[in-house]
Amino acid sequence: MNLVTISGPPSSGKTAVTIKAAENLMKRGVKVGAVKFDCLHTDDDLAYEKAGIPVKKGLSGSLCPDHYFVSNIEAVTDWGIKEGFDLLVSESAGLCNRCSPYIKEIKAVCVIDNLSGINTPKKIGPMLRMADIVVITKGDIVSQAEREVFAAGVYAVNPGAIIMHINGLTGQGAYEFSTLLYDEKIKIDTLKGRKLRFSMPSALCSYCLGETRIGESYQMGNVRKINLDEKA
């Protein structure tokens, strides 16, 4: 089975682009499955189902969604293999813009949209910086110049990536993208022993443990204070 992880800010077009690409692959007889990781709520499973793609969803609830992802991706991979998929796509929203739950040697795609502002590529962090493929969506809503400026911003942050423009509504570019997602020669049997491309933060403070009261005396563990004196 092939495994691809897709991440990107909320509403950047991850589901739209994934479904359009999957439709192209399914036409060629490739069996595609999906898993959606989210925090509190998602309707994406319905969208995948409607497209005829078997899907599982995992909600992290009060846990850090990226930690939740890592603790579950192995089991999900086993599920995909058992179901006999040729390709399993894992979609997760980049919720704090810091982490990239990308796994070494597993194809990593970051989806961002042209509307998110020209400084966004700089702000996203490893999720963008460490992706193999960066998909830029919603080019239909902006001008050619804005597309070029945005793509240049992405390029400066991740010069090694393949950068593709895809329209999540019409599917323009999705066929081409789909050819990069699936490779017959790749066979993944398990994720056991694989490593993350990037370590996650080890922050553990009283609020991680359920504290709700505000105030110095309730704060324990790994606490950091904003510097209000620093000149910008």
């Binding site: 590529p121 910086r129 809503i141 070029e148 793509a151 950068i163």
Partner: protein, 334 residues
């Protein structure tokens, strides 16, 4: 410069040698806040575990990307790719798997090709084949050659080298910038040195296309539909790196369409235009008829057709004048 060499320079020295690194460092700006005089190697040695975690930073990864970026930018700026002069499409098949019957389809710089056919007939697929420089690896099995050769794959994957620029029907900008700031930003992203003169030319060219001129300090979001369109066209003609420009219908509103096409062809672009407007279609040198996902016909615009154009333009002008009088509350007369 290889990875080892990079480490022997300070961030400040690196910026002096490679001004384009500003964009790269901006993503890791805390590094520049460190002592800029120190060699990068030394600086990185001092970055501790906590900082690595805080800034989601990985030293090896950073150095790798920095050296990739430098070498790619050097090739990008140093090597002048041979200009794209012709694009050739070799026949494939339509949606039913029947072979396309044209022998070859050639697009040259400075020429205009119109594309006609009902929605869903395969216009976007043709465009996508060109953009992807298809090599019999898309559903149409078409092949695309650049300057009569099989092109290399960098056209497919690179972020700053795209074959096709698109002027879609969308006429809005979303950035909150003035005309001049917007053009400066675009020029900067393309690493254009001394962009002032070029920017002035773009604004002049855009203003040639519209009745009501706009000023350089106006916010781009406040431009009228026609003005936005004019600015997009002039900017794409003069500042976009893509040799092919696809236009998705130019409405006959507030913009001189003939001049707009002239600006594009004058900048050595290959112009493709999806349109069902006879005036625009006749302005093209050739037209492609698309049917059932395939190229059904390639028609060269004949002298007889061109002769019709003059007539149509006259009728069109008359219609425009009448429209204007109507708007101004006048009585319509011959």
């Amino acid at each position: 410069m290889n990875q080892q060499e990079i480490l022997r320079y300070s961030p400040k020295e690196l910026l002096n040698i490679y001004p384009f690194l500003e964009a790269f460092f901006a993503g890791q700006s805390w590094i520049l806040k460190l002592d800029q005089q120190q060699k990068l190697g030394l600086l990185l040695e001092q970055v501790d575990e906590e900082q690595q975690e805080d800034y989601a930073f990985d030293k090896a990864d950073f150095i790798g990307q920095l050296s990739d970026f430098i070498s790619q930018m050097e090739t990008f700026m140093g090597k002048k790719d041979k200009a794209v002069e012709t694009l050739m499409v070799l026949p494939g098949q339509n949606k039913s798997g029947e072979a396309e019957t044209f022998s070859e389809l050639i697009f040259k710089t400075q020429t205009i090709t119109s594309i006609v056919g009902p929605t869903g007939s395969g216009k976007s697929r043709l465009l996508a084949d060109i953009e992807w420089v298809a090599q019999a690896d898309t559903p149409t099995m078409r092949r695309v050659l650049i300057n009569n050769e099989k092109p290399d794959t960098s056209w497919r994957f690179s972020g700053n080298k795209k074959l096709v620029a698109q002027l879609s029907q969308n006429m809005n900008f979303v950035m909150d910038l003035s005309v001049i700031e917007f053009l400066e930003l675009h020029a900067k992203s393309r690493m254009v040195a001394n962009s002032d003169e070029l920017i002035r030319r773009i604004i002049d060219a855009a203003n040639e296309l519209v009745g009501e001129k706009f000023e350089r300090y106006m916010p781009i979001t406040s431009l009228s539909g026609g003005q936005s369109r004019a600015l997009m066209i002039a900017d794409t003609a003069l500042l976009s790196q893509s040799p092919v420009v696809l236009i998705d219908e130019i409405e006959n509103a507030g913009i001189d369409r003939k001049k707009a096409l002239k600006i594009l062809t004058g900048e050595d672009k290959i112009v493709l235009m999806a349109t069902h407007d006879p005036i625009l279609a006749l302005m093209a040198d050739q037209r492609i008829v698309i049917k059932n996902g395939g190229i059904y016909k390639v028609i060269q615009t004949s002298e007889a057709e061109k002769a019709m154009l003059a007539e149509l333009e006259k009728a069109d002008q008359k219609l425009q004048l009448l429209r204007m009088s109507l708007r101004q509350g006048e009585i319509l007369a011959e």
